[in-house]
Symmetry: C2
Subunit: 201 residues, 2 copies
DNA sequence: CCTACCGATCGGTAGG
DNA sequence: CCTACCGATCGGTAGG
């Protein structure tokens, strides 16, 4: 009898590992992920766990990807049905703050944490974090541009500036919420975002 | 002959350790500080190094304190001579962005990094990070309030809201600068801060 | 401030 | 997917 499991079994095991890896990395950081601890958490041997990924770095990349998938589900997808432009931009911002408020990840915004942890390192993890954040910023910029074209924002609205400020306000909310336990942070971010969109003209 | 050095010697050694500890923690994180590596860096044995602090946690607290001292020197003190109110608030913001631009810490803003790393942990390091950030936010709020009293900002300006937004913009600049290498971030933050202060009325 | 040492854990491999 | 193992390193202590 081979110890190998069927492909669906292996896929389920992999999903269970990644679930746990995302939770751990959310609070301890992607560098704080350790193979031994994770293996014990999901009831595998170290070698059994690492067989699914090949190396710690590959595990980190897979955990990051899984976390981004959650972010897409929680923030991106619910807003996709809204009309492109200001309506979708507002929906994205609201879903974003809701995602922070509901504590989807125990350690707060996964992407912000990963960005802080890897912004001064080199390698594929940093590159993937950079790509994910750039894509998100581009998405915000795109909605600002569409809103301008549709006459919902002035034609001279500055998409990169607006996206920069919206992103900054969400980071500020995440910090105030996580570190300082300041529940008013969401309202402050919401007010700031509204003002950014008003002032975009 | 006792292996003990004189008090001034010990103090110099301690300062050298902390210099290096701040640099390492800035890029690797406070949790990434290890006694063995730090000892090798400064040419001590592990036990020789730890004798100065007692434990890794105490070393982390001392490194954080040393980093905060730098922040005060770089941002706080140069602005202290400006008149309280809008003038000093503007000077604080400008010194803050300049501190980011000059890369005073190799890993970007030390306090932001420490905040991300410890915002979901417990213990004295998290408490000290929280205290330092709260004090900084309070300082910004105070200058907004003074500016209102002096008629430089409207009487209904909202100090916590303004401080929240200024802090968020600096965080956004730090991220864009460190992760994305986006040199325009400073100008974006500067513009955002100016707009926050204009809109405070 | 040192040497010498502790148990624990790290990422990873060999071989099955 | 396992057991058994590798060398390296972790934080920290004993004793001087």
């Amino acid at each position: 009898m081979s110890p190998r499991r069927s492909a669906p079994d292996a896929s389920r095991t992999r999903a269970a590992i990644l679930d746990r890896a995302v939770a751990v990395a959310s609070t301890e950081g992607l560098e704080g992920l350790t193979i031994g601890r994770l293996a014990a958490d999901v009831g595998l041997s170290k070698s059994g766990l690492i067989a699914h990924f090949g190396s710690k770095e590959a595990l980190q990349l897979a955990a990051l990807d899984a976390a981004l998938h959650v972010f897409r589900e929680e923030v991106w997808e619910p807003s996709a049905e809204r009309e492109a432009g200001l309506s979708r931009l507002s929906a994205l911002c609201e879903a974003w703050l809701s995602y922070l408020e509901r504590g989807v990840f125990p350690g707060g915004c996964f992407l912000t944490a990963a960005s802080c942890e890897f912004d001064d390192r080199e390698g594929p993890v940093r590159e993937d974090v950079n790509k994910a954040l750039s894509l998100w910023i581009k998405t915000l910029e795109q909605e600002v541009a569409t809103a301008s074209e549709r006459g919902e924002l002035p034609l001279d609205a500055d998409p990169p500036q607006v996206a920069f400020e919206l992103n900054a306000l969400a980071m500020g909310a995440n910090q105030a919420l996580q570190l300082r336990g300041d529940r008013t942070a969401l309202e402050r971010a919401r007010r700031g975002m509204a003002r950014v969109l008003e002032a975009a003209g």
